[in-house]
Amino acid sequence: MTSPSTRSKVTIDGNEAAAYVAHQINEVIAIYPITPSSPMGEWADQWSAERKPNIWGTVPTVIEMQSEGGAAGALHGALQAGSLSTTFTASQGLLLMIPNMYKIAGELTATVFHIAARSLAAQALSIFGDHSDVMAARATGFAMLASNSIQEVMDFALISQAASLEARVPFLHFFDGFRTSHEVAKVEQLTPDDMRAMMDEELIRAHRARALSPDRPVIRGTAQNPDVYFQAREAVNSFYRACPTIVQNAMDKFANLVGRQYHLFDYAGAPDAERVVVLMGSGAEVAEEAVDYLTASGEKVGLLKVRLFRPFSVEHFVHALPASVKSIAVLDRTKEPGAVGEPLYMDVITALVEAQITGKRVIGGRYGLSSKEFTPAMVKGVFDELSKPAPKNHFTIGIYDDVTHTSLEWDPRFSTEVPGTVRALFYGLGADGTVGANKNSIKIIGEETDNYAQGYFVYDSKKSGAITTSHLRFGPRPLHSSYLITSANFVACHQFSLLERMEMLKAAEPGATFLLNSPYGPEEVWNHLPRTVQKQIIDKKLKFYVIDGYQVAKDTGMGVRINTIMQTCFFAISGVLPREEAIAAIKHTIEKTYGKRGEAVVKKNFAAVDEALSHLYEVQVPDKVTALFDIRPPVPAAAPEFVQKVTARIIAGEGDELPVSAMPIDGTFPSATAQWEKRNIALEIPVWDEELCIQCGKCVLVCPHSVIRAKVYDPQHLEGAPAAFKSTAARWKDFKTMKYTLQVAPEDCTGCTLCVQVCPAKSKSEVKHRAINMAPQPPIREAENANWDFFLKIPEMDRRVLSLSQVKDSQLLQPLFEFSGACSGCGETPYIKLMTQLFGDRALIGNATGCSSIYGGNLPTTPYCVDANGRGPSWSNSLFEDNAEFGLGMRLAIDKQNEYARELLARLGSVIGDELVKGLLEADQKTEAGIADQRERVKLLKERLAGLHTAEARDLLSLADALVKKSVWIVGGDGWAYDIGYGGLDHVLASGRNVNILVLDTEVYSNTGGQMSKATPRGAVAKFAAGGKPAAKKDLALLAANYGTVYVARVAMGSSDMHTVKAFLEAEAYDGPSIIIAYSHCIAHGYDLAFGMEQQKAAVNSGYWPLFRYNPKLADEGKNPFQLDSRPPTIPLKNYVYNEARYTMLTKSNPEEARRLLALAEEDVKSRWKLYDYMAHMPANGADKGGNQ
């Protein structure tokens, strides 16, 4: 037995804790990424890539599958063949595993699935935590063990595996997504010896002995009939009966070994408690803190923590419950609409009835869905409810339900924060290093002092300029505070601009310290603070410090990373450690974290530490509020009512306060709301030089956030233009008398500079000056705002007069996708925007889950918008795996509606007017003019139908819009198209139906953090391919072309924008399935995205990404349908790939493998080119009409 004192203390999050154990006690690990469980798979993959062995000295095999369904299947097979096998998942992923879970349990197979429990997609997707997923799996026959804290995650990962082996019952080991999976806390690390002691060798051998083997053949997985299926199903009963005791025995053995004693149900609180809450998960930690507080003040309350939820042991439950209990509130972190109550509540009721315990009042309620805050105050609210003579049953706590009045009241001022605990809040922006710095700080405090430490990190839902809030607690007493800090004694603002966006000092307690990263020094900062901030500093008597972190970062070579600097200031001011000790500890951590990245990196961080201290100043706080400005309203006054009442509250961070009545009942939200959320995240924005501009439209095309717009208009519209508004003569042959303006939306730009990089017009006298150049935003913000507002009022160009195959013309079309939350410099959004420009006014979009569904549909605002006629894309996200089918369904409905409308037209012909009917039925809608004419006819039809009162006329009125051509777009990333959705995609391609599929190919699962997909190129490093992807990228385009009936295009906007525009037009025009595979540069490729378009060019020039179009229509015309549109390689592959960290990383971590894979990748390029070239020159229809290049 290892004595507890010899175990090291580590500061890690729940995912790492689970993976740490799981990787060491398994042999085969099948994974698939899904938030928030992905890091468990990532750790496992990385450790195996680094050849870290398990406790038996062999390196576990880790394999990524095409879906969670696939992972479960592979796992099932591995178990059947006798391996110790595990997986990690959450949410929809777990749902996809359910079919296999029944099998695994039915076959009495030992395994543990580690689950970062997460909400299920219902009215909306949510990545956050609750128990909806695990509760959906409770009928599978898996045992279910809940961990409430990071330490428990590590402990239960081991206990569950040991118990599973003995019980032969498979386990779901679950913990709360984000709150536990991502909380960083100090825990005692189990040792390999601990694991060896818990993992019984005999049981492992027995597991192997049960495996399928041709050396002792058996058959498993038979089909059974009514005569015996039932009996066979009952044959497992004894194993489930034995399971609770086996788990308790494992817990006892673990306690002997490690010293921490757990029980199936752990009671905490007054031994003579009268009111008890029952719950599981991180909420139990919160409840424990509340119970400790309340019992200390004499209240007879208690908490029953449920650890083993399945098999539910009535005996152990009853035994754990104090006999004194009079009333019980059971809290479920899930919702089952239509059920009598939620699962835990139902079980408690049943248990009491079965145990014949009467006279106790039991109520049940829901809390914490989708990581909704659950605080000690809410726990007290529940206890208070239990004290009432007629407490509310089926309640909710944590929200305000003003519709069905389920919610309980609570007093948010009730606080159980432990005195002596330091509570620090840090506000920053994603990628400024704030979160990383705080993770480091927590590590330092956790590992260098005796303090307990906890860190939790909250992000908003944007991928560019996301606001991050770090919640850090540490102190001498154990921390159970699994909730956000609302009362802080240290507040740091790492981004000055956030002061005008949010009321961050609300959470500062009197006398707290406020650290501000400020471009203004201690003397002048005061007058740059909003009134509210000044008032709070004065009223709360805050100690106020400033540092110009960005200047220090610049001076010390840190660029825009202020992490180390702000971290040093925190330690210097907070006094957690003596200053010298703190500095030494920070430097030690820097060595540990960055040492492997090279000495230069360590040096600059050291310099940043040293410089930070000499630039940190305390501000002498004046006693008067002097500012003439205040925090900006979240949305402008002109925003529509819903935006004002709902969206604005969410933007302001007050979404928690919205009542149920404020929410749409079915998940339907208005579009076009992103325009109201002015985020001002760009330090510099593009400025147009009208003299130099050649009006090519390239900047408009590439702008990922649609902030650069062009219009050609009649000069009369310039009347009343702001003084700074720019215009010049339009350079169009047909619009010579008209004006041209290129306008930037100053508050929506993210400052990516793609537009500047792509601008071909350079000044003759100074080549660095182009027709579009970056300039600091603040000085021009107001003037450009006025220009932008004026620009929006200028009428859009008539679509009918434009030649849409010309890039220049296409970029005069209004984008119906704007200001999304996508990453700055995103390579996907320009394609989506183009699609909306060309077809958005008649588009239905089915969007696979992924980046495009997050920046496309994550609250608070929606980027899809409408034109002057109120038309625009109608968008929905179903799931990750089903998107092709989802889009096909839309097509089927539209086609059916169109067909029925046409039938009705024929039936009602003479009543409506034969000529109109003929026009409607025979309309040619191939052009914008044709569509406009049809819209006119439909308008007329509606007018005529309005006067008719037959059922058929009313039917036709409701379907008349279906007579206008609709464009169905199925949009998603490569994770969907190549992997999880490929089966469906393939089926839809084969369907022959007129759908357009847009694959935004970033070559990894970007949204979940860059895991390998089958689109990942050979030799690239990705998560789940830490050792470099060994196999070549799947040629999805060629597979699709193989059907012969599918329009296929492989495009790269940065290489040929004209080709891209052409492909979109042809794909949409093709009356059958079309697929466009679009090269999308991505932050997960590891280079400065400002050069994204140039890198696309290099991809094509190296032959890595040949452009082609396969148009079945050409075959009908006797031509070769395969058109190879790019030239043979002109640069070596390495000139393309080694611009990107995803490739160069491998040259650093495994140079020999990098060389081997590069050589193979070069071969891939050669052989593919040969094949394409051959195809392009194949005779069409037997005649040698050749391909064209």
């Binding site: 938030t35 928030p36 992905s38 890091p39 993959d45 990385q46 890539a49 680094e50 990545i127 991502h182 994603g430 990628a431 290093g433 704030t434 979160v435 990383g436 990190f457 909250v458 992000y459 839902s461 944007k462 991928k463 560019s464 996301a466 991050t468 660029g559 990373r561 960055y594 492997k596 990245r597 090279g598 000495e599 230069a600 990196v601 600059k604 350079k762 080549v767 990453c823 997050i854 970007s1006 949204n1007 979940t1008 953090g1009 860059g1010 490093v1021 990705a1022 998560k1023 830490a1026 932050i1083 997960a1084 590891g1086 280079y1087 960290a1141 995803r1142 160069t1144 990383m1145 650093k1148 971590s1149 495994n1150 140079p1151």
Partner: protein, 338 residues
């Protein structure tokens, strides 16, 4: 047939190393491959100078790795990172040092490591590591482009001298310095480097001179191979310096034929370095050069390389002024007369 190699002594010494002939394969991408280094030895190279380890490159690689590992981090709750951050990376000089080791194992001829540094700390550390890895000598490839108008020539020169002194003080193996011709007083500079302890001077570095792409209006890298005309500058300064400094002289740049080697020796070089010639004609061209050198020497009745070394240096010719300014004037005027 007479075996000229038996009768003519091609051996020379350079940096205290005994070399079988004056042909040294100089730093080029060819040296990145151990097979090539073996082929060089087989073809007759007396020593090999490895491609340069660029301190700046090491620093950039490390900064870039750090940048891209951290740049995409903490963007959103779902994508806290975008890359696996491995426990270790093959960063810094590790790969280069391994290369020295492998080259030493592969051949018997001396291996001269080449170091291009930017900071005193870096130079010293890498120089020591190269020594430990088994390099027979070091070549400091000083490639410094002083673009700061505030930086005086004096300060630049002092930087060179300090670098050489520091490196010399920290390693026991001989150190050569490869430098460019752009000094106000080349001879004085050579003397100062000599005094700082340089065991050899390699004349001259060919500087990277970027070109313009007139269509794209961009500055583009431009690297051309040296031509024989470039040798004259080298000959000139070797002839001037020979005998005036203690350090050995090596000629690099423009040496393409056996007669070029002869000229280099006569000017006073101990070795002639070959880069462009090998890149253009292949490693086996070394064999041709050795043969042609022997034939030339035989025809002109030279017994040994040592015999001719410095024979046409400034001190050895009847009219030293041929190497001075007047000569330059004469050439120009004679050119005008034509």
């Amino acid at each position: 047939m007479i075996d000229l190699s038996k009768t003519i002594d091609l051996s020379t010494s350079y940096l205290g190393l005994k070399l079988k002939n004056p042909l040294v394969a100089s730093a080029s991408p060819l040296c990145e491959d151990i097979g090539n280094i073996r082929r060089m030895e087989d073809a007759g190279a007396a020593a090999v100078v490895l491609h340069s380890l660029f301190e700046e490159q090491i620093e950039i690689e490390s900064q870039e790795l750090d940048r891209f590992l951290t740049e995409g981090t903490e963007l959103s709750a779902e994508a806290v990172t975008h890359f696996p951050d491995m426990t270790g990376y093959n960063l810094g000089p590790r790969g280069y040092l391994d290369h020295i080791r492998r080259a030493k194992e592969a051949v018997r001829i001396p291996i001269i490591a080449s170091l291009n540094g930017v900071s005193i700390g870096g130079w010293l550390q890498y120089a020591r590591q190269m020594e430990q890895a088994g390099a027979d000598a070091l070549e400091l490839n000083i490639f410094y482009v002083p673009v700061d108008p505030e930086l005086t020539g004096e300060a630049v020169e002092q930087k060179y001298v300090d670098l050489v002194r520091e490196v010399k003080g920290s390693v026991k193996i001989p150190v050569a310095v490869k430098l460019g011709p752009y000094f106000s007083s080349m001879a004085n500079m050579a003397k100062r480097l000599d005094a700082a302890g340089a065991d050899g001077l390699v004349l001259f570095n060919r500087f990277y001179q970027p070109d313009f792409d007139l269509e794209a209006l961009e500055v583009v890298p431009n690297l051309t191979l040296s031509g024989p005309h470039e040798m004259l500058l080298r000959l000139h300064w070797i002839a001037v310096l020979y005998g005036n400094i203690r350090a050995d002289l090596g000629l690099t740049g423009g040496c393409h034929a056996a007669t070029d080697v002869v000229k280099a020796m006569m000017a006073g070089a101990k070795v002639a370095m070959l880069t462009s010639a090998l890149l253009k004609r292949g490693i086996s061209y070394l064999e041709t050069l050795v043969t042609e050198l022997l034939i030339w020497m035989s025809e002109h009745e030279y017994d040994s390389i040592r015999q001719m070394q410095g024979s046409m240096s400034r001190n050895a010719v009847p009219q030293p002024s041929a190497f001075e300014r007047a000569n330059y004037m004469k050439v120009l005027s004679s050119y005008a007369v034509r």
